[in-house]
């Protein structure tokens, strides 16, 4: 069995979920996402045993397009992240009631399908299709099942849609150009194409626009906060937990190795831009009054650091980026879930309307706090491993990058502890907070277990992703 089975499984799962009807939809979706998670572990085992589960088959003969699904440590890490997080996200939504839930959950599985396709594709045509395909389900999920005023929501979601779509078009143009040069869109062929530094510059820039919007990198982030706020919890989690990693992953897989000279020449500019995002996101987060928006800006700061690490072009930087992508995926889902738990009870995202929750439910307070501490990268959490590696890689580029990006350590503590104080502490108990349900506790416990385990023992993931990253860095440095 090869890796293409997982895509078939999820696509079939999406269809099955739709036909299962509203009542059964979420259970069916959970079963399929769980199956995909189990299957991705099986693929991991194959990989560890030295068997290559990649899949290649010709799709279109003229032009030459392949269905090429490549499995290496890097794409495997993303595969595992996606399948496990999708499962957690679906399970986390069990406390919600959605209208037309069969469509909702079918879209969630479909999105997982498209994102996994993006991570696995080794042919630019296929990759591009998956890349755009992933946008469709999240667009509907956010638009139809989102919250807040309908008109406002529409505006925010359409802005997001246009932004990301516009960005991708630049990438499409770059691919068309590359196809002319290489005569193929296979990743390996694109790696082999010889481009002048000027050509590389334009291609690098085109990729950058696509990825900078997706990730997002300052100043292409303006769609983010509103979209995160308006989307339903599941949508926000899919977006922040997995989808933005498509951009970061693509930087490592496509942008850097295809245009290595440009990457090296303009490295400092792109690191600087990413680092600006780290500080900017942290500072804007200080004054947010809406919980989900605050988390969105904090996420902007965190992914800025990941992008900076990736653009540092060192194995440490790339490894830190991948580790932190996974850590951030789990932590951000945990944070947005905490926001959702509160919203289920208080029907609000406004921080001013919260407070006095710990006094009523200390269990929830503890769980939320642990996730928050992971988010501020307390040592012994997975996020510390990522943040330390990333900052060290930046230090190796320039000490000032490390110092400026490092202010996130301080600012992150400021806005997070402020948030926690205003949301959870105090003795304002005007509103009744029903204690967390077992289902909610399970979600937190799973996330926390992952964050703490890999915080102490990141070796398995580190060992998994290092060889392909060394290869990519080797490729960049050879030129």
């Amino acid at each position: 069995m090869n890796v293409s089975f997982i895509l078939i499984l999820l696509l079939f799962g999406a269809i099955a979920t739709y036909f299962a009807g509203d009542k059964l939809a979420k259970t069916v979706a959970l079963v399929f996402s769980l199956a995909s998670a189990v299957f991705s572990v099986y693929i991991l085992n194959l990989h560890q045993a030295g068997i290559n589960p990649s899949f290649i088959s010709q799709w279109i003969t003229n032009p030459n397009v392949f269905i090429a699904l490549q499995v290496d440590g890097l794409s495997l890490a993303m595969l595992l992240l996606t399948t496990f997080l999708t499962t957690i996200i679906i399970f986390s939504s069990f406390g919600n009631q959605y209208n037309n839930s069969k469509t909702f959950y079918a879209l969630v599985l479909f999105m997982s399908f498209a994102m996994i396709g993006t991570f696995l594709s080794a042919d630019a045509f296929l990759y591009y299709i998956f890349w755009e395909l992933a946008l469709i389900p999240i667009y509907f999920i956010a638009l139809v099942w989102g919250n807040g005023d309908v008109e406002e929501r529409k505006r925010a979601i359409i802005k997001f849609f246009i932004f990301t779509l516009a960005g991708s078009l630049f990438m499409l143009v770059a691919f068309i150009y590359l196809f002319q040069k290489a005569g193929s869109l296979m990743l390996s062929d694109l790696y082999a194409v010889r481009l002048t530094s000027q050509e590389q510059f334009w291609i690098f820039l085109a990729f950058f626009l696509a990825y900078a919007i997706k990730i997002p990198i300052f100043p292409f982030h303006t769609w983010q906060a509103n979209t995160y706020q308006k989307a339903p919890a599941v949508g926000t989690m899919l977006l922040s937990g997995i989808m933005l990693k498509m951009g970061l992953y693509s930087v490592i897989r496509w942008q850097l190795p295809i245009a290595p000279i440009a990457a090296k020449t303009y490295m400092n500019i792109f690191i600087a831009l990413s680092v600006v995002g780290v500080v900017y996101g942290s500072i804007v987060a200080l004054k947010q009054r809406n919980l989900k928006k605050l988390l969105a800006y904090s996420s902007l700061a965190h992914v800025g650091l990941i992008a900076a690490g990736a653009y540092s072009l060192s194995v440490d930087g790339l490894r830190g980026a991948v580790l932190q992508m996974i850590a951030h995926g789990f932590v951000v889902v945990g944070l947005f879930f905490a926001a959702e738990v509160i919203e289920r009870r208080f029907q609000t995202q406004e921080i001013a309307e919260m407070g006095g929750i710990r006094i009523q439910d200390s269990k929830f307070a503890s769980l939320f706090m642990i996730v928050m501490l992971a988010s501020v990268a307390l040592p012994s959490t997975f996020n510390f491993v990522g943040e330390f590696t990333l900052l060290y890689s930046l230090y190796n580029v320039n000490i000032w990058f490390a110092i400026i990006a490092g202010t996130t350590i301080i600012l992150g503590a400021v806005y997070m502890l402020n948030m926690f104080k205003n949301v959870m502490l105090g003795d304002k108990d005007s509103r009744v907070f029903a204690v967390v349900t077992t289902q909610e506790i399970i979600v937190f416990v799973v996330i926390i277990a992952v964050l703490l385990f890999f915080g102490m023992y990141p070796k398995p993931i580190s060992d998994l992703v290092t060889p392909p990253l060394q290869e990519i860095v080797g490729r960049i440095n050879r030129l």
């Binding site: 779509l165 303006t222 060290y392 110092i403 502490l425």
Partner: protein, 627 residues
């Protein structure tokens, strides 16, 4: 066997934490207290074993567990190191830790969340042990931030009060400012030495000539590490969190904010003495900051009326003296004062807790007085500790403080003068505290007066033990024949000239003693003979007011850093966000309007807008690329 015992040492408090947090509430308060205390006692016994082991063999024990973080040029292991320094530190961390846990059984008995208190306290000891025992800087950093977390949790233990939560937050954030410095220092060391292991860094330093760039980098690293120390050990400019941290229950103040956690900075500098020895400029900075902190904090302590605040500023001041010693390269002297200070300051805090307990939460010394008769054990133990901190012969503080001043005298006369003045102030404010609390007539309410009582045995036993240690603790390092110097010798690579017991030494002892007596005498005249009571807050004027308001440092930080930051945040949120958004969307709008003009479709259909936008953009791009 040794590996297992080391694991027991580290993990016993952690299991105490787990058991208390998960089962504490159901199991009841007796169980919680017993388990919490026992788990620290186990660590103490394990430490004792290692102490004797190292005493006899002199060989450090390294325990490697598993690889942790991998970087291209090196790898960081999860591993522990038991050597002279870490075992010594562990000895008083777990020893005093046990006493304070015992004390807390009684002190926290009426709190509904007693199980959480013990859980956090156990977790703190676990992280403190990790900090001390780590064999490389990053494992130390786990403990370093971990104790900061526990400090945050315990300062904000009574979380219903948002003021306490603010104090907790402040402690965490100010520590994080230092932590960034520490982290940068760690990066530089990692870059220069390709390792974070203490042994490997030391080996590298001594085995090869360092290039000029490396030496410069090491100086910067030392400075960055010291910034980290100013956060954790509450030195200028990051000291203002410590007085606020007194919002936490008193045992917390004794354990975390006096005896153990705040000494982490001194531990780290001592641990990396070979790095600091290479950076004489930074050592000068450390000495100056230490002396400055000592005198500034002591000055503020002169006029505080909250009994715990006096002790808090006193702690800041004493830590300053320790840094003064560190800056002069007298690491063993600083360590000596850490130990004696841990004894007498823990005792003083626990004693103040006993007083506060008896007065049902009253902390203002203006409402105390005359407690000597009702609380004789508390009084006498605190008195011994006060004599110790004031530097009166032959109590522990006399020896350690004297060594610091002697070192300062041989290093730089100005530093000696500053340190001596700080010591005189110390004697004054401590006796002011004692007179206001225990002498003259009781100034509290009738209700309080009726319920005055000596604290129960669980509180007084730790007090007595600590008072004994505060009295005789000086024995570990008598001038001329110091066990401590001999014990720590293997750690230090640059021989520190031991000062002999000559005429100068006796003269300095004499001056210090006279100074302390002057301080005591002034307090005696003012608060015992004239029976003065400090005036109400509104009546304080002049210099006293500046001191009472702590030189307005908090206000200055608020004005210079916090407010501008929030204004910037507001500005970003309000203007930059919209501007950037408009700018990027403007591109879409242009294409949009072109599409609209062509077809005059004004129905607002998304599809049309989108189509126009996409068409416009892609045609521009295709043109750009193909032509």
């Amino acid at each position: 066997m040794e590996k297992n015992l080391a694991l027991v040492l580290v993990l016993a408090p952690f299991f105490g934490f787990l058991a208390n947090i998960f089962f504490g509430k159901k199991a009841g308060k007796g169980f919680v207290g017993l388990l919490g205390t026992l788990s620290i006692l186990i660590s103490f016994f394990a430490t004792t074993y290692f102490f004797m082991q190292i005493q006899s063999t002199g060989k450090p024990i390294e325990v490697k567990l598993f690889p942790w973080i991998a970087l291209e040029s090196f790898q960081i292991d999860m591993s522990f190191l038991l050597d002279q320094l870490s075992v010594l530190w562990l000895l008083f961390v777990t020893g005093i830790g046990t006493l304070i846990h015992m004390y807390s059984i009684s002190y926290m008995h009426d709190d509904e969340n007693m199980h959480k208190f013990f859980a956090y306290l156990n977790l703190f000891v676990f992280f403190m042990i990790t900090l001390v025992m780590g064999s490389n800087l990053l494992v130390m950093f786990i403990g370093w931030e971990g104790v900061g977390l526990c400090s945050y949790l315990l300062i904000g233990f009574w979380y219903k009060n948002q003021d306490y939560n603010d104090a907790a937050k402040k402690a965490f954030i100010m520590n994080r400012v230092g932590d960034l410095g520490l982290l940068i220092g760690i990066f530089i060391l990692a870059y220069v030495f390709g390792s974070l292991d203490y042994h490997l860094i030391a080996r590298d330093i001594f085995s090869q000539e360092l290039s000029a760039t490396d030496s410069a980098l090491i100086s910067i690293a030392a400075l960055c590490l010291f910034i980290g120390a100013t956060g954790k050990s509450a030195q200028i400019p990051l000291y203002t969190w410590l007085p606020d941290a007194m919002a936490g229950p008193t045992p917390v103040s004794a354990l975390i904010h006096a005896a153990t956690m705040v000494t982490a900075g001194i531990f780290m500098v001592t641990r990396l003495n070979f790095v600091f020895d290479l950076a004489p400029n930074v050592q000068t900075i450390i000495a100056v900051i230490g002396a400055g902190t000592a005198i500034v904090a002591a000055a503020i302590g002169l006029v505080q009326n909250d009994i715990k605040k006096v002790l808090a500023y006193s702690t800041v001041s004493q830590l300053g003296l320790m840094f003064l010693a560190l800056g002069l390269g007298a690491y063993e002297v600083a360590v000596f004062h850490v130990i004696t200070h841990a004894f007498f300051k823990a005792c003083l805090f626990l004693g103040s807790g006993s007083v506060i307990h008896a007065l049902h939460g009253e902390q203002d010394m203006r409402n105390m007085g005359g407690l000597k008769k009702v609380m004789p054990i508390t009084f006498w133990t605190m008195m011994i500790s006060t004599l110790a901190i004031s530097g009166i012969f032959p109590f522990a503080g006399f020896w350690s403080k004297d060594e610091i001043l002697m070192t300062a005298f041989h290093g730089n006369t100005i530093l000696w003068v500053v340190g001596s003045i700080a010591s005189i102030m110390t004697a004054f404010y401590m006796f002011r505290l004692m007179y206001l609390t225990f002498f003259n007539d009781f100034r509290g309410t009738e209700h309080q007066k009726k319920h005055l009582h000596e604290s129960p045995a669980l509180i007084t036993i730790p007090l007595v033990i600590l008072a004994i240690l505060a009295a005789v603790g000086g024995l570990i390092s008598l001038p001329g024949n110091s066990w401590l110097n001999h014990y720590l010798a293997p750690l230090f690579h640059k021989a520190h000239e031991a000062h002999h017991l000559d005429g100068t030494a006796y003269m300095l002892m004499g001056i210090a003693t006279v100074g302390a007596l002057v301080g005591i005498g002034m307090a005696y005249a003012k608060y015992l003979k004239k029976q003065e009571v400090p005036e109400q807050d509104s009546e304080i004027t002049g210099i006293a007011k500046v001191l009472y308001n702590k030189f307005y440092v908090d206000e200055a930080y608020e004005m210079l850093i916090v407010n501008p930051l929030y204004k910037l945040s507001h500005f970003f949120r309000k203007y930059i966000e919209t501007a950037v958004s408009e700018l990027l969307f403007g591109l879409g709008k242009v294409t949009n309007s072109i599409g609209n003009q062509g077809k005059l479709v004004q129905n607002g259909s998304v599809g049309v807008y989108l189509f126009a936008f996409v068409l416009g953009l892609s045609s521009i791009l295709i043109y750009l690329f193909l032509v």
